[in-house]
């Protein structure tokens, strides 16, 4: 993509909320639906004398994500204090990792418009979230439920070159953390928040332009739009002979533009130093290996396997691996049906449509993968026709019954008895003598399909279409 002879340079920081049961430095619950300030103990409130104790689960989730992103895991990482005043930050500092983060130097490859794109992950570090200020008239009300929620901040190098790459990167990270089950990926609830660093430079230039940070974008579509806007804004500014200010901007989705939040010129000095209340975080090789063994097959690898071992097209593989639950559903269906492509087709078309319409997650599908697999097997063995299968599928969706039971109850078994079919055909041909003549004399073309339809109708759809075709062809010669 060309931008008037300019090249955008984009880096993304994603705050991933780790789905631990308790906060990162105390035992308070992390439930999203809790009432205001319900999940707040003296530690969350930063009461005098309270101390942080690190949550082991948060560390494990951080390590797993780091491993999935190809990072080196530091054997000794350090929690630091980031000092600044804000009303919803109870201690007057945020505990974060600074000089020695838990994960470093990773990279991931994903597809953008069919092309592989590799992005370096410069670091991923653990930190605590702040609380939330709710402004209401002349009051500001503070809710500390979020204060101390564990976050993993995943930071890329300045490797992205277009808004669509940035958005796709975000989706990839979301996909991975959901596969790992370390984050629910719910952007509306703030489980993932993106900061985008955007600058532009003349094509061919090696120097980086002045970067602008767009903070707290909460959808990947907005990531794309915000960056698109920002690139154009910066180029306009430069073309006009202006200078890009290093600043923090926010995205206004209603007005479709970014606007300045604060200038970095009066930027805070965070006065980072190692938190003396927490010892360095020591991670052993054994611990890392144990967690590595717990890693699931990741989406990119799984999609490749579906292509190579199952012979699925790239498109199918990607759709089926967007969520671990879908890929799991597919694999179980295929295991039962022993027909990869048919399983993929049924899931991608019929099942997905029903799930979307009913707004049901695949984990809660009324049709189990075993049931769907068995149904596909019945098609392949000739027990039912594809057409009957659609009716069986609907019945499975409505009742949750097994396909064999439905077929038996409704008498939907395919008629494969040649003599029985021949009888139906003869009746149909007799009833349509004129048409038979027209067909044989060549007076009218394409009447073959009409006869097939009529026979199928007469058999209530149960006649095997293969056999119907074969006998009809003989008789209409």
């Amino acid at each position: 993509m060309s931008y008037r002879g300019y090249e955008p340079v984009i880096g993304i920081e994603i705050h991933v909320q780790l789905r631990t049961n308790s906060k990162i430095f105390c035992a308070d619950a992390t439930t999203f639906e809790a009432a205001d300030n319900e999940n707040v103990s003296p530690v969350s409130a930063g009461m005098p004398g309270t101390l942080p104790v690190v949550n082991k689960k948060a560390i494990e989730f951080g390590i797993k994500t780091g491993l999935a992103l190809g990072c080196n895991i530091r054997r000794k990482s350090v929690f630091a204090r980031k000092n600044y005043f804000y009303p919803d930050m109870p201690k007057g500092y945020q505990i974060s990792q600074f000089e020695k983060p838990l994960c470093e130097n990773g990279q991931i490859t994903f597809k953008v418009n069919g092309v592989d794109k590799t992005v370096t992950i410069s670091r991923a570090h653990l930190e605590e979230d702040a609380g939330k200020s709710n402004h209401s008239g002349s009051y500001t009300l503070i809710n500390l439920n979020r204060a101390g929620i564990p976050l993993l901040e995943v930071v890329t190098g300045p490797d992205l070159r277009s808004p669509s790459e940035a958005a796709e990167y975000g989706r990839t990270i979301r996909q991975i953390v959901r596969y790992l089950d370390v984050c629910d990926g719910n952007l509306e609830e703030g489980s993932m928040r993106c900061d985008c660093n955007v600058s532009v430079r003349k094509e061919g230039s090696k120097e980086l332009g002045t970067k602008v940070e767009i903070k707290n974008v909460n959808s990947f579509r907005f990531v794309e739009k915000a960056i698109e806007y920002e690139i154009e804004r910066q180029i306009d500014e430069i073309e006009r002979g202006g200078k890009i200010l290093q600043e923090t901007r926010l995205w206004d989705p209603d007005k479709n533009r970014t606007f300045a939040m604060r200038s970095k010129e009066d930027a805070q000095d965070y006065r980072y130093f190692p938190d003396p209340d927490l010892l360095p975080l020591i991670v052993t090789d054994e611990w890392i290996e144990k967690l590595r063994k717990e890693l699931p097959e990741l989406p990119i690898a799984r999609a490749q396997r579906f292509q190579q071992e199952h012979g699925l097209p790239e498109y199918d593989s990607q759709v089926l691996t967007t969520e671990k639950s879908i890929a799991d559903y597919y694999e179980e269906t295929a295991r039962v049906s022993k027909n990869y492509k048919a399983s993929s087709n049924w899931i991608m078309s019929e099942l997905m449509r029903e799930l979307n319409t009913a707004n049901v997650q695949i984990e809660n599908s009324p049709i189990t993968p075993t049931q769907l697999g068995k149904m596909i097997g019945m098609i392949d063995s000739g027990t039912i026709s594809g057409k009957i299968a659609k009716a069986v599928f609907q019945e499975m969706w409505n009742s949750g019954k097994d396909p064999e039971d439905i077929v038996k109850e409704k008498g939907l078994v395919q008629i494969t008895d040649t003599a029985a079919i021949e009888k139906i055909i003869d009746e149909v041909l007799t009833a349509n003598a004129q048409a038979v003549d027209d067909h044989k004399s060549g007076k009218k073309k394409n009447l073959f399909g009409f006869f097939v339809g009529a026979v199928m109708k007469a058999s209530k759809g149960q006649a095997s279409p293969d056999i119907v075709n074969k006998i009809l062809q003989e008789k209409l010669k």
């Binding site: 003296p42 009461m47 690190v54 000092n83 007057g92 130093f273 003396p276």
Partner: protein, 490 residues
């Protein structure tokens, strides 16, 4: 039993065997506080429930329950430790209305062992000071001479203990704040190994240096109290998992064959005559008891005071950031909050809430941590701190304990040094290195100056070797030249 001067174990034993009720004990000491503390200003608040607590303990004893090692023993707690439903101010206006919803682990352990909490004790604001003159609640007076300071920052604990307004107190020590006032007031004060005692609920001054400890009348009482408050706490990541020895049971005055180290860099002079004589007398006494005196070198102690002030103020500047008037504590008054800029809100609240010594240290610490200065100050101080610790560990290969003065001179006059912060900071020259190295150290009263002021001796030991430190202190206590001497106030 003469209650006023009874030991912790005597009282606990008498209460458990119902020779006296916990309520009678609490009542006795409450009356002492009522009649004597006006001269000292050592208490900042009295626990309105102390008698009720004592009665409840008596009920439990009547039922035959096991009530712990400190049954019915009246304790005073430094303002720096959070006490559930009891105002905890850290000696500061900014926390003047703060009532914690929880007990510090140290306090919880005292209560669990049957102690009666009599009230809260005065201190320098946020434990910043060596004279107890920076408290929002006013200066504390030394019971041996009320024109003099009790030392700081645990001056309230030291004065209350010396005047026997309670049987035991808890102080905190960041750079000598238990040992120096203990020396000035003629009591025993112990700063345990860093990590031995949980810091949970102790209002943080400098997290990597703070440690709470007993300030009591005898070495045995110190050992007993330390046993109660020590041990791992899951609420404090820096608290040690090491098991707590029975120091009081294993206490011995036998120092035969002990190697007692003297840091040669400390022998450069600068001590007042009485202090120097006291120190030499203590060495002689240990020699007579069969100990061997060896010279050791810890050259980095030269830098201990400046390093201490870099690290302590840096950590303090961050630890004190939470006092912003938003959630609890003092908030400056505004005619209306609407239209008030956040910075002005913080500025006015903190400007009015903190005293000048605290502000001085916050400014210093903020500067040390600023980008561009961090490496030169905080980071460099950390490196020297490690060297200092290594030198101590090397010294402890040559000796069992290290003996030194606690301060260069006995208690000074109130107001004498308050306008000279640097001179005040130099007061901590013998005590700060112990905190920097995380070692246990204690002050044991040894002699009186010509003008009748107590002078203590400092015993320092290797990490987690409190037993040997207490044993040497017990030997010194037995040979002390001030036995039977009491402060004028009594």
């Amino acid at each position: 039993m003469e209650l006023t001067f009874a030991s912790i174990s005597d009282i606990s034993e008498a209460v458990k065997t119902k020779k006296i009720s916990a309520k009678e004990v609490a009542d006795h000491f409450q009356k002492r506080i009522g009649s004597l503390d006006k001269q000292l200003n050592s208490f900042t608040s009295i626990n309105p429930d102390s008698l009720k607590q004592a009665e409840a303990l008596d009920d439990r004893i009547a039922k035959g329950e096991d009530v712990g090692l400190l049954a019915g023993v009246p304790f005073g707690i430094k303002e720096m430790l959070c006490t559930k439903n009891l105002t905890t101010t850290a000696g500061s206006k900014i926390l003047s209305n703060f009532v914690p919803p929880y007990d510090a682990t140290v306090v919880a352990r005292l209560k669990k062992n049957g102690a009666t909490i009599m009230g809260k004790l005065n201190q320098d604001e946020f434990a910043m000071g060596s004279s107890n003159e920076t408290s929002y609640h006013g200066s504390v007076k030394n019971p041996w001479d009320t024109s003099r300071v009790p030392g700081g920052s645990s001056g309230g604990s030291a004065a209350a203990q010396a005047a026997r307004l309670v049987v035991g107190t808890i102080g905190t020590d960041t750079g000598g704040s238990i040992r120096q006032p203990a020396s000035f007031c003629g009591i025993v004060g112990v700063k345990p190994t860093y990590g031995r005692v949980s810091r949970y609920g102790i209002i943080a001054f400098a997290s990597s240096l703070d440690q709470a400890g007993p300030m009591v009348s005898t070495v045995k009482d110190a050992a007993l109290t330390l046993e109660v408050i020590s041990g791992h706490d899951p609420m404090d990541s820096t608290s040690s998992q090491k098991t707590v020895p029975q120091w009081s049971k294993n206490l011995s005055q036998d120092v035969k064959g002990f190697k007692v180290g003297v840091i040669k860099e400390y022998l450069k002079g600068g001590l007042d005559a009485d202090t120097e004589k006291t120190f030499n007398d203590s060495l002689e006494a240990l020699k007579t008891l069969g100990a061997e005196i060896v010279e050791v070198s810890v050259s980095m102690t030269e830098f201990a005071v400046p390093i201490y002030y870099l690290i302590a103020t840096s950590e303090a500047s961050s630890n004190l950031a939470r006092y912003d008037g938003i959630r609890y504590g003092y908030r400056a008054e505004f005619a209306s909050l609407s239209g008030v800029e956040l910075e002005d809100f913080y500025g006015k609240t903190r400007g009015e809430g903190f005293g000048s010594e605290v502000k001085r240290r916050i400014m210093l610490g903020t500067y040390c941590l600023s980008s561009g200065y961090y490496d030169a100050y905080y980071n460099k101080a950390g490196q020297v701190r490690r060297l200092l610790t290594e030198q101590y560990l090397a010294a402890f290969k040559k000796c069992d304990v290290i003996l030194s003065p606690v301060t260069t001179a006995p208690a000074f006059k109130i107001g004498e040094l308050i306008s000279d912060p640097l001179a005040m900071y130099m007061n901590d020259i013998f005590t700060t290195s112990t905190n920097l190295a995380g070692l246990p150290g204690m002050s044991v009263p040894y002699s009186l100056s010509k003008s009748g002021l107590p002078i203590g001796i400092q015993v320092t030991a290797n990490h987690f070797d409190e037993q040997r430190m207490l044993n040497v202190a017990a030997a010194l206590e037995a040979s002390s030249l001030m036995k039977g001497q009491k402060p004028h106030v009594i």
